[in-house]
Symmetry: C2
């Protein structure tokens, strides 16, 4: 299998959400859309075009793999699951995000004219 081990290209958000959603276990297309919405607190709605092209691409890259088909209520479901390579990539991506977030936070605190209320910020 051909795996670009040294790839450092950051995952786009929809792609990340697909891998993260599959981390729990196998899911089918529409299940992934629902899970991505949950993961992002409703911020991101996976579009079908994005989903199916991403699914195809990730399968070719060996990050996910088909995991059976079922017919539920007369409707076909195609399942996918994370491969070990996919889990490794996701792990790497999480580490990248955490490190960048941490470093950006430090720099923001050092910002000249740093203020606690910069207008429009919601601290929940």
């Amino acid at each position: 299998m051909y795996v670009d081990v040294m790839s450092s290209a950051a995952l786009h958000e929809p792609t990340f959400l697909i891998l993260a959603a599959l981390a729990e276990g196998r899911k089918h297309g529409y299940g992934l859309i629902a899970e991505a919405e949950t993961l992002s607190d409703g911020r991101v709605t996976l579009r079908v075009a994005t989903l199916y092209t991403a699914l195809d691409r990730l399968r070719k890259e060996g990050l996910i793999a088909p995991a059976g088909e079922e017919v539920i209520d007369g409707r076909l479901r195609r399942y996918y699951e994370l491969t070990d390579d996919g889990a490794a990539t996701l792990t790497q991506e999480i580490a990248r995000m955490e490190q960048l977030a941490a470093r950006a936070t430090v720099r923001l605190r050092h910002r000249p004219g740093f203020a606690f209320g910069w207008g429009g910020g919601a601290w929940a």
Copy 2:
């Protein structure tokens, strides 16, 4: 000024690095390339084409602003700085990344067949 407050589109890595690099204070083009390289541990080299198109776009969006020009050793330097909107966007993006990273981590731990050694992982 027109600001898309509810924008939920994730920043791409180069764009994020530019904003994060500017969080410390004003910087010029080549300074940003160096800072982005530092921030990403040498993983990401900002390309000039990416840099200048992003600088233009971010300026139009009001996230950064020109912050003076200088001539050092006969070479022109154009400086940029974060606007308050830019700092707010960066803050929001950091929160998004941290939340997604945390949630993805939880799901990965619940992964069926979860193993500690999945091949190729470097725990430093």
